[in-house]
C-alpha cells in the first residue's frame, strides 16, 4: 500500500470524450483505434486523477473514502482491483 503509481504517459492517450473517459494504449508507437480501447467510469476516473506519481496508494484510498459513499473496505478492494487491472494492461506504472 506504500506503492506510488502514475499513468504510463508515453504509452497511453487518455481523454474525456463525449462524457466518457477513454484510454487508448500506444503499442509499438501506434495508438490503434481498431484494437482495444478502454473506458473508466466516474469513480474509476477519480482514481485515475489521484494516481499522479506522488501519492501513495494508501493516501489515494483514504481520500476516496472521504469523497465517495461506501465502506472503507469496499473502496479499498475496488481501488486495488482497478489498480491491478490498469497495471496488467500497462496503462499505469509503479514509480
Amino acid at each position: 500500500m506504500n506503492a506510488v503509481y502514475a499513468p504510463a504517459e508515453d504509452d497511453v492517450v487518455a481523454r474525456e470524450l463525449h462524457g466518457e473517459f477513454i484510454i487508448i494504449p500506444i503499442s509499438s508507437g501506434v495508438g490503434d483505434l481498431e484494437d482495444e480501447i478502454f473506458s473508466l467510469n466516474e469513480t474509476g476516473k477519480a482514481v485515475w486523477d489521484k494516481l499522479d506519481g506522488k501519492k501513495k496508494l494508501e493516501e489515494v484510498i483514504s481520500e476516496l473514502t472521504v469523497e465517495f459513499e461506501g465502506s472503507a473496505e469496499e473502496i479499498r478492494n475496488d481501488v486495488t482491483g482497478l489498480v491491478e487491472e490498469l497495471l496488467k494492461r500497462k496503462i499505469i506504472v509503479e514509480n
Binding site: L33, E34, F38, S39, G44, L86, R89
Partner: protein, 166 residues
C-alpha cells in the same frame, strides 16, 4: 469503479478523432484508424485501415496523403498533397473535382504511412507513383487516367504496378 472495453461501434466523431490523433502525435505516436468516404478512391477506399504517422517523423511532401483539419471547423480530412505553395500545401482528394484549399503545415495532423485492405497492405498510391498521381490530380487529369486504367487488362496493370515498385 472499473475499467471496461469501450464500445466504439459507432466510431469516434470527426472532432474526437482530431483530439485523439493530435494527442497521439504529441507523444510521437501514430494512429491506426478506419478510413471513411470515397474521396481518395481508388487508392484509399471506405473501410480501409490507415496509419497516420506524426510530423516531423514523416514530413509532408508532394504526393503524400495528409490528414488535416480546418482551423475553424476542426473537421478531419484525408487527402493528397498536390503541391507546396508558400508556407502551405495545396491538398486535393484523388476522387474530387476541386482542391480543398491551401492548408498551412500547422493544420496537418499526420501523413498516411500504411493502408490495409481486407488484411492486405496496399502500397500502390504511396510509393514513387505518388508524384505522378499528384501531378495528374493537379492538372485535373486523374479521373481520365482512372477510366483508362480500369479498361487496361489485369496483367498489364499488374506489370505497371511491379515496374513502379522496382
Amino acid at each position: 469503479m472499473k475499467i471496461e472495453k469501450a464500445e466504439n461501434e459507432a466510431g469516434f466523431s470527426n472532432e474526437e478523432l482530431v483530439v485523439i490523433i493530435s494527442a497521439a502525435a504529441a507523444k510521437g505516436a501514430s494512429t491506426r484508424m478506419k478510413a471513411l468516404g470515397c474521396s481518395m478512391s481508388p487508392f484509399i477506399m471506405g473501410g480501409d485501415i490507415i496509419t497516420l504517422s506524426p510530423l516531423p517523423e514523416v514530413p509532408p511532401e508532394k504526393g503524400k496523403v495528409a490528414a488535416f483539419t480546418c482551423s475553424k471547423r476542426k473537421r478531419l480530412t484525408v487527402h493528397r498533397i498536390v503541391k507546396k505553395k508558400g508556407n502551405g500545401y495545396l491538398i486535393k482528394g484523388d476522387n474530387c473535382g476541386g482542391s480543398d484549399r491551401l492548408v498551412p503545415e500547422r493544420d496537418i495532423l499526420g501523413i498516411v504511412s500504411k493502408i490495409e485492405r481486407d488484411g492486405r497492405i496496399i502500397r500502390f498510391g504511396l510509393g514513387r507513383e505518388r508524384y505522378i498521381i499528384a501531378f495528374l490530380s493537379g492538372i485535373k487529369l486523374l479521373p481520365s487516367v482512372f477510366m483508362l486504367w480500369r479498361v487496361l487488362p489485369f496483367k498489364l496493370r499488374r506489370t505497371i504496378k511491379c515496374l513502379i515498385h522496382t
